[in-house]
């Protein structure tokens, strides 16, 4: 328990540093806010254009699909604001050989590198995403109950964990193949597919996006939960995948650290 408290305190300090750093560039906040709204709006154009022609796509009405977009946008905020900056910093450490300084500290290395850098302003995406969800729910004339909200939030957290774990797996690769920033770029481009309800994908795509790259779990499942349509089976699957990816990525990262240390940097 004391260890947990210590890590919580450490996290608070790292967060505070990032916020202070961000506050130095106040204009940047306005830029990012405009960017987020503009980006979300443009991303909506094709969706709205398609729904102009069809009342429903793969069983999703326009406003229901908007909830998926909302979760997609919010999770993008987590990805770009928290996951990519700090794990990107690890790749930089490996390249420059400065990871030794991190490893010398008496704190869990994975924790330290995962919280080292936050891009606070990208958090605007989270607000924009919540705004889109709110708008969609209003248009649907629906107010989800507390249980639905709790499930959706849990799944959102699982989605963040999945994104983080996949990134960590990529970073573990960085110890072997140094030019890996490319690979994380590849991953974020694949993440773009998560803005659509997963049921539009058929066959191999559907399996790929559920189990290999579980985009369905990240955005479609929370939306279903909010709509009260998520089967209990899916919830169990999501939690199982979250745990599996979390453990697998930690194991891979530890292994990579081991090989890094034994190689003598």
């Amino acid at each position: 328990m004391t260890a947990l408290a210590r890590y919580a305190r450490l996290f608070a300090i790292q967060l505070r540093t990032s916020v202070l750093l961000a506050l130095q560039y106040r204009v940047e906040f306005v830029v990012q806010a405009i960017m987020s709204v503009f980006w979300t709006a443009t991303a909506l154009v094709p969706l709205l254009a398609l729904y102009d022609r069809r009342p429903s796509i793969a069983g999703w009405s326009r406003d229901e699909a908007l909830i998926v977009v909302g979760f997609f946008t919010a999770l993008k905020g987590v990805l770009e604001g928290a996951i990519q900056p700090s794990l990107g910093a690890v790749v930089e450490h490996v390249r420059k050989g400065t990871l030794d300084f991190v490893l010398l500290k008496p704190v869990d290395a994975q924790f330290l590198v995962s919280t080292s850098k936050l891009d606070v302003f990208k958090g605007v995406h989270v607000l924009t995403g919540l705004g889109v969800i709110g708008w969609a729910l209003h248009a649907l004339g629906r107010a989800p109950g507390p249980l639905a909200i709790a499930t959706a939030l849990t799944l959102f957290a699982v989605g963040a964990l999945l994104l983080y774990s996949i990134h960590l797996l990529v970073v573990a690769l960085a110890f072997k193949v140094v030019k890996v920033d490319n690979l994380s770029f590849l991953f974020s481009s694949a993440y773009d597919a998560a803005r659509w309800p997963s049921s539009v994908f058929r066959g191999a795509f559907a399996i790929f996006f559920t189990f290999v790259l579980p985009l369905a779990v990240m955005t479609t499942f929370p939306a279903l939960a909010l709509l009260g349509r998520l089967p209990a089976r899916s919830l169990a699957l999501a939690l199982g995948l979250g745990v599996a990816f979390g453990l697998a990525s930690r194991a891979a990262f530890q292994r990579a650290l081991g090989s890094y240390t034994s190689a003598g940097g």
């Binding site: 503009f38 154009v45 094709p46 254009a49 102009d52 796509i57 793969a58 590849l186 481009s189």
Partner: protein, 276 residues
């Protein structure tokens, strides 16, 4: 400020003599980065995701003039044109300006813009080789009858792809040079690329947009960067429309060249006043 624009007084002939070597070294660089290039090509996977989506939609009945096979042809053509017209000079420039290595390039008797352009062009052979199988899969899957059979149209296609590349390059150059003045110039690029994704037809064929949106798209450059060559390849345009489109492309080319020139000149003037 008394500073005059610092244009390199470079002779045209020596510059031209340097180009073959520049291309050769650029090509060697691309070969050194070949694995990155493959990853980068895989990164351009959005058209395939959209294709999966729209084939699912089209399975319930055609959308406008688009059935499943036409969507296939459209998105493969989109993928090919996107891969052939992309450039990366904006990141190169921003990086060099931040690292301060632009100064050394300005000291040479050759405008830095020439190596930027040749580096991007030198990637074409490899990029072309990688794009060819993609194009082949697209043609076989959608069916050859989904593409134009008119040789003149294919000639126009080549010209329009070249023009689209040039405009992309010049806009990137302009935005990258802005970072001499403004550190967040990459945010502008993000805005540009977000608008490009939607209004170039990258995500959805433009003709599926509501008329209100189309009225706006007509006055934007984005269609000429991607959708226009794709439309030629699909045989969706009459000869007259092709000619008009090429004319519009030429106009955007001139506009972007002027913009890039002005921003570059202003950037250099600032550079000479404040240093890098």
């Amino acid at each position: 400020m008394s500073a005059r624009p610092a244009s390199t007084r470079s002779g045209f002939a020596p510059t031209l003599r340097a180009v073959p070597t520049l291309l050769r070294i650029g090509f060697a660089g691309v070969v050194a980065y070949r694995s990155e290039m493959i990853v980068w090509i895989l990164t351009t996977n959005m058209p395939l995701v959209m294709l999966a989506l729209l084939r699912a939609v089209a399975a319930e009945g055609p959308v406008g003039r688009f059935d499943a096979a036409r969507f296939t042809a459209y998105y493969f053509a989109t993928l090919v044109v996107r891969l052939l017209t992309s450039a990366w000079v904006v990141w190169e420039l921003v990086y060099e300006i931040r690292q301060g290595t632009l100064a050394a390039k300005l000291l040479r008797p050759l405008s830095p813009l020439v190596p930027y352009a040749t580096d991007n062009l030198a990637a074409l052979p490899i990029r072309g080789a990688l794009v060819l199988p993609i194009a082949l899969v697209g043609v076989l899957w959608a069916g050859p009858e989904r593409f134009t059979h008119d040789p003149l149209s294919w000639l126009a296609f080549v010209v329009s792809v070249a023009a689209a590349w040039a405009v992309t390059f010049l806009v990137m150059l302009a935005i990258g040079t802005l970072s001499l003045r403004w550190e967040s110039s990459l945010s502008i690029y993000d805005l540009w690329i977000a608008a490009y994704f939607v209004f170039s037809g990258y995500l959805l064929p433009l003709e599926l947009f509501p008329p209100r949106v189309l009225a706006v798209v007509r006055w934007l450059p984005f269609r000429y960067l991607l959708s226009f060559p794709v439309e030629i390849a699909l045989g969706a345009l009459s000869r007259r429309e092709i000619l008009l489109g090429l004319g519009a492309q030429l106009g955007w080319l001139a506009a972007s060249a002027l913009l890039a020139h002005l921003i570059w000149r202003d950037g250099l003037r600032r550079f000479a006043a404040y240093g890098g």
